[in-house]
């Protein structure tokens, strides 16, 4: 079957990446988009050759929807899609707080629709091979994880830096990527979090330093740096790296190290930068979701995973407030 998909809000720029990844598939078709912002939605529709329509009309035409709204608006779109009986892939983080995320899972469960959270890095080939190596015993007993998901400095003036729309800064925005990888590779939950944070790189209302020190249920130690801190002139958008240290070995992954070094003397953006040529992680993400919808199975990362990951973020913010390590509350 061909799975027909709609996009609900294009506030998050990842909507373009997901749409492009879907366009390359034979078993899926992206047909329409709804948005809070008419101009933005129409422009997205034009660039992808699809229809811009009210949400009710989109939901009548599709089997599944991808929600790319600002964090605080995820719930509104998810509720609409669930009420229409449509399966959902939601941009991460699922919601700004764990309780809100848990409520969205309940809504989808009672509506009988699938809820997935967009964790494209799970589809990174270097990560998949690293997980396979760890599963085969390459590091022995895993003892420590060092992760980074460092991004460029966050400019003011978008919803990302407006707490009323984002619900938080760098910690909320993308710590869940590395936390998700850790949960996937180890099968362990994060038990405790200690946070150092602040706003030092641009003049914004949310934090741009995201340095977390965690411990997993089995005592594995785990740190993460997801600060918005690389210069505008950086050669790439950021990184995703993991170092897995164990009793018998060390596995290091740099997900986006497969790049060309490009230098241009003229044009709009002269200078040196890096052009990624590795496997497209977004194709893996949408492929899994389309397959899940077609075969009526849960997507790779479910709403329940999303809730657990946002619970860690809750604890991270609480640690920042209290200045001490905080146990993650999964209740």
């Amino acid at each position: 079957m061909t799975v027909r998909l709609g996009v609900l809000s294009t506030a998050h720029h990842h909507a373009d990446l997901y749409a492009a990844a879907l366009e390359s598939r034979d078993d899926a078709e992206i047909v329409a988009v709804a948005d809070e912002d008419d101009d933005r939605g129409q422009s997205f529709a034009d660039s992808h050759g699809i229809d811009y329509q009210p949400a009710d009309d989109v939901l009548e035409r599709v089997d599944a929807a991808i929600v790319c709204a600002a964090n605080v608006n995820h719930g509104t779109w998810i509720r609409e899609a669930a009420a229409a009986g449509i399966d959902i892939l939601c941009e991460k983080p699922l919601a700004p707080a764990g309780d809100q995320a848990a409520e969205l899972v309940r809504v989808c469960e009672s509506a009988g629709v699938a809820l997935g959270v967009a964790m494209p890095v799970r589809f990174s080939e270097p990560i998949r091979q690293a997980k396979a190596a760890v599963d085969e015993g390459a590091v022995g007993d895993l003892k420590a994880i060092v992760g980074t998901n460092i991004l460029q400095k966050m400019a003011a003036g978008t919803w990302f830096t407006d707490p009323d729309l984002s619900g938080g800064g760098a910690i909320l925005d993308h710590s869940v990527h590395i936390i998700d990888l850790s949960r996937w590779i180890t099968g362990q939950e994060v038990a405790e979090v200690y946070t150092e944070t602040g706003t030092r790189f641009t003049d914004i209302e949310v934090e741009d330093i995201d340095v977390l020190s965690m411990e997993l249920d089995d005592g594995t130690i785990f740190t993460h740096d997801g600060s918005w801190r690389q210069p505008e002139e950086w050669d790439f958008w950021g990184d995703v790296t993991l170092r897995l240290i164990g009793t018998d070995g060390v596995v290091e992954v740099d997900c986006f190290d497969q790049t060309l070094t490009r230098t241009r003397d003229s044009g709009d953006d002269p200078g040196i930068d890096s052009v990624y040529w590795g496997t497209d992680i977004n194709k893996g993400l949408v492929g899994d979701f389309v397959d899940a919808v077609a075969n009526n199975r849960p997507p790779a990362v479910t709403g329940t995973d999303g809730v657990r990951e946002v619970r860690v973020v809750d604890a991270a913010y609480e640690s920042a407030d209290r200045g001490e390590p905080v146990s993650v509350n999964y209740e």
């Binding site: 003892k143 420590a144 150092e196 641009t202 801190r229 210069p231 009793t247 060390v250």
Partner: protein, 334 residues
């Protein structure tokens, strides 16, 4: 001629002997070690005299200075003996095993008025020294986050390094390089939160991840570990992000010279074990500075107080790892 006596004949003694012998106007006159001084002298500095006991060396030789290269827990007794004889001293890092030991050293230095340098050689490694100059020149604006990495694999016994009571483990012996460097770069440390894990017999494999808050508000991440996985190469890395720029150094990315033979691939990278392709490496620079200070009586750039403060960050990290809470270096200095 600045005549220097080496106390200790372990790994650092060879490095020091080679650097000192390269400095015009400086020489290694004698070496003291209870076990292997004679063999060390024969192999490394044949012109020097071997002693079994450091006090015999101090009393038997006409020296200007002593380099203290003994296991960490013995630093204070050796430094005190040198200070009593008014010998100038360069002492390997960390300054001492305990805060009491460090204070004894500081008191002895102050009482005697000797020239004293804590050998925080990372400040003299060319990449680190250049990064400090670039940050001070304002190249990256105001620093916000700094990350360091220092790690290696080993095989078999590492002697006293394996014994926490003598070396203080990876946080005191290895992470202290980066705690000291970051103090120099970013200023005083407000608090440190550390997680640590270990395995093998009595935790000889020792892994630490420290999150550091500086008084300036900047945040550091200091990764330091040694593990019994022999194929892991020596690694060091530094990254400093500021609000107007960024600096990054990773020895993994630095390959100015590689040799491929039938049985081996060599890419010199370890400042202790390898001959780096540098006219003057970090140890040369550090010892030149020390010799200059001995000659003209100036205070070295890395003082006894620096050694004490950087050590306090390590001890705070150890306490944090033990107690599971952030710890201020001031707290362990009390």
């Amino acid at each position: 001629m600045v005549r220097i006596g080496l106390v200790g004949s372990g790994g650092m003694a060879g490095v020091y002997a080679n650097s000192i012998e390269r400095i015009e106007g400086a020489t290694v006159s004698a070496v003291a070690s209870p076990h292997s001084a004679e063999a060390f002298v024969r192999d490394t500095v044949p012109s020097a005299t071997a002693y079994a006991d450091y006090e015999e060396l101090f009393d038997g030789e006409s020296l200007d200075a002593a380099a203290i290269l003994t296991p960490t827990h013995t630093h204070s007794e050796v430094v005190i003996a040198a200070a009593e004889r008014e010998l100038d001293v360069i002492c390997e890092k960390p300054l001492a095993r305990t805060m009491d030991g460090a204070r004894e050293i500081r008191d002895a230095v102050e009482r005697s008025g000797i020239t004293f340098m804590t050998a925080h050689v990372t400040r003299f490694f060319p990449a680190y020294a250049e990064a400090k100059e670039r940050v001070d020149a304002g190249d990256i604006g105001t620093p916000g986050v700094a990350r360091t990495k220092r790690a290696f694999g080993f095989e078999g016994s590492r002697g006293w390094f394996d014994d926490d009571a003598r070396s203080g483990g990876v946080l005191l012996d290895l992470a202290v390089h980066d705690f000291d460097y970051l103090r120099w770069l970013l200023g005083d440390v407000k608090r440190v939160f550390t997680r640590r894990t270990g395995w093998d017999r009595d935790g000889r494999s020792d892994v630490s991840l420290s999150v550091v808050r500086f008084e300036s508000g900047a945040v550091g991440h200091v990764e330091a570990w040694w593990v019994e996985v022999p194929t892991v190469p020596f690694t060091e890395a530094l990254e400093v992000a500021g609000d107007d720029g960024h600096l990054e150094y990773d020895v993994d990315e630095v390959q100015p010279l590689r040799q491929f033979g039938h049985d081996s691939v060599e890419s010199p990278r370890d400042p202790v074990g390898d001959a780096l392709p540098l006219a003057r490496d970090g140890y040369d620079r550090q010892l030149e500075r020390f010799v200059d200070c001995v000659r003209d009586g100036k205070e070295p750039s890395v003082t006894v107080e620096d050694g004490l403060q950087s050590m306090a960050v390590s001890l705070a990290a150890i306490k944090s790892a033990d107690c599971g809470v952030p710890v201020s270096p001031q707290e362990v200095r009390r």
